[in-house]
Amino acid sequence: MVIGVESRMLLLPFIDRGPSEQAMATFTDRAWPDYPRFLEGVREHTQPGDTIAIIVPAMRWEAGYSYAFYRASYFLTGREVLPVLTPHDEPLPQNYRAAKYIAVFGVGLRIPPDAVWRSRRGALLRQRQR
């Protein structure tokens, strides 16, 4: 019984849960706390069916791109999120070209004035050829 019951959880009603709530709420995006808000902005400025490529500072799969791509897939459901590199870090230029929009987050690019939308740390760009 003692081993089966998680004794730490039994303390939850008697402690200040605020720090735990804060820790859990920020756990997923602890590296890039602004990223979810950025993705919500991208969602507001795109339509279901749109294709979106993601550019982030970590352009290596295991170094953060997988997180950025998966997280974007979750926030941008209904759109098609395209990775611009493979899990083996090979570039996928065809996805960059195929995307209607490029969502750029946390990268020090000079954002063109005709960006569809911009936030403090990123921007949504529409591909010119489309």
Binding site: M1, I3, G4, V5, E6, M9, L10, L11, L12, P13, R17, S20, E21, M24, A25, F27, T28, P48, S66, F69, Y70, R71, S73, Y74, T77, G78, E80, V81, L82, P83, N95
Partner: protein, 445 residues
């Protein structure tokens, strides 16, 4: 939170006639616990059926389809009559501590939005994607860019999340973890009802407390919780069915295992493990008993056909699994040693093994079905690690602790009852005078 609570209540009400149609004697904890599980499993098939029929999921379409099933089940249930089980579940003071434990787990699971990586990359992602188009998005599942979401995984959990979202009017992942809590509660209620048939209220209450704790998955929002609940309930019902040769327990067990197979691929493996264990533990009557397991396979089949029809890739099967297995066989001892090293809650398993060793031999023989299921399922897991296309160490680290939780409830249930009943002696067991007649004959037989 209201939408999730209403969804849990709706699923339970939806499941009541289904549970009674299968077992008219069900009452109290057994009825409530199994009703939630049947409601959850049946709602999955409602949404799956609507999607296959190209009927968009709306609150109206889902309600109409559910009402048809509800009325049909109620009609079947009303035509049957049977006396309830002789051993009514009697409450015990220890139940208050179990309720408190569940409350604490619910607090933990709802500290924040569901935070697990696998929730927003697999289970929640699929649910949210499907909700966008009001049906299963096969294009999303078939896309080669979305293999990270494991398109081959069964959809019971995402479709349950979609039901909550339909009730709530939009996607909101803040309180979805309560569905996992409800699964754990349902399993505890089923275990309580089954334990009450075999032991005293004190031991049954103590065992329920343990099942509630083990049945709660720390992997919030993932399919582990529902798999533990459906799989655990299925194994416990089949155990009871083998013990008493009770048709209602066979039906419960088979359907619960069928739903487990729609939670995760491990649920399909569990169904095979149970089948092997049923055959091995009752060789002479195996054909008849296997027929009683058939509903489980009927429930598991639609998703297996759909995923084959849509050629949804299974990452474990890519390349040659057999050659990987053969290549790693010489290193099997190293892999086993690593599994032992990475075992989550090792003391729990030490206690379980010790309990098995010190229990009377007759009690061990009585529980051989659960021991066999556990052993075969563990063998499946080890075989997968031997054949994985991934790095073995990474694969073990990222899954082994979760996989062992799938088996904790049934084995703990068996060992606890073995020890509790040997402590008490068999003379005062509720059914000591005759283990069979406590099961009234079905009125339709």
């Amino acid at each position: 939170m209201t939408a999730t609570l209403v969804a849990i209540l709706s699923l339970t009400v939806f499941g009541v006639p289904v549970a009674l149609a299968l077992d008219r004697r069900a009452r109290g904890p057994l009825l409530v616990g199994s009703a939630f599980l049947y409601g959850s499993g049946t709602m999955y098939f409602v949404l799956l059926g609507l999607s296959i029929a190209h009927i968009r999921w709306t609150l109206i379409s889902v309600t109409i389809a559910s009402l048809v099933i509800f009325c049909a089940a109620a009609f079947i249930a009303r035509r049957q009559s049977a006396e309830p089980w002789r051993e009514a579940v009697r409450p015990h003071l220890l139940d208050l501590f179990t309720i408190f434990t569940i409350f604490c787990y619910a607090l933990y699971a709802t500290l924040a939005k569901v935070w697990e990586w696998d929730f927003w990359a697999i289970w929640g992602l699929k649910a949210r994607t499907f909700l966008e188009i009001g049906g299963i998005d096969w294009r999303f599942l078939e896309s080669r860019w979305n293999t990270f979401a494991h398109p081959d995984y069964p959809l019971l959990v995402p479709l349950n999340y979609d039901f909550v979202s339909l009730l709530g009017g939009s996607w909101n992942d803040r309180w979805l973890a309560l569905l996992g809590v409800a699964s754990a509660v349902a399993l505890a209620l089923v275990a309580r009802a089954l334990a009450a048939r075999e032991t005293t209220p004190f031991f049954a209450a103590l065992l329920t407390m343990l099942v509630a704790a083990l049945g709660f998955s720390r992997y919030v929002g993932l399919a582990e919780g529902p798999l533990i609940a459906f799989g655990g309930a299925g194994i416990l019902f089949i155990r009871a069915a083998l013990e008493w040769d009770d048709d209602a327990c066979w039906r419960h067990g088979a359907l619960m295992l069928g739903f487990a197979a729609n939670c995760k691929n491990e649920g399909v493996a569990l169904l095979v493990s149970v089948t092997i264990a049923v055959v091995a533990s009752s060789w002479s009557s195996a054909p008849a008993r296997l027929r009683k397991l058939a509903p489980a396979y009927v429930l598991a089949t639609p998703w297996l056909i759909l995923r084959a029809a849509h050629t949804l890739p299974t990452d474990l099967a890519q390349g040659s699994a057999v050659s990987r297995l053969l290549a790693r066989l010489p290193h099997a001892h190293q892999i086993l040693a690593y599994l032992a090293e990475q075992l989550s809650s090792p003391w729990f398993w030490v206690v379980i093994l010790t309990g098995i060793l010190i229990a009377p031999a007759a009690a061990r023989r009585r529980e051989r079905f659960i021991f066999l299921v556990t052993a075969v399922q563990l063998l499946f897991y080890v075989t997968v690690y031997m054949a994985t296309p991934n790095n073995v160490h990474w694969h073990v680290l990222s899954s082994w602790s979760r996989l062992t939780t799938h088996l904790a409830v049934p084995i703990a249930f068996a060992v606890f009852l073995m020890l509790a009943n040997s402590l008490r002696g068999s003379q005062d067991a509720p059914h000591a005078e005759d283990p069979r007649p406590v099961v009234p004959a079905r009125s339709d037989e």
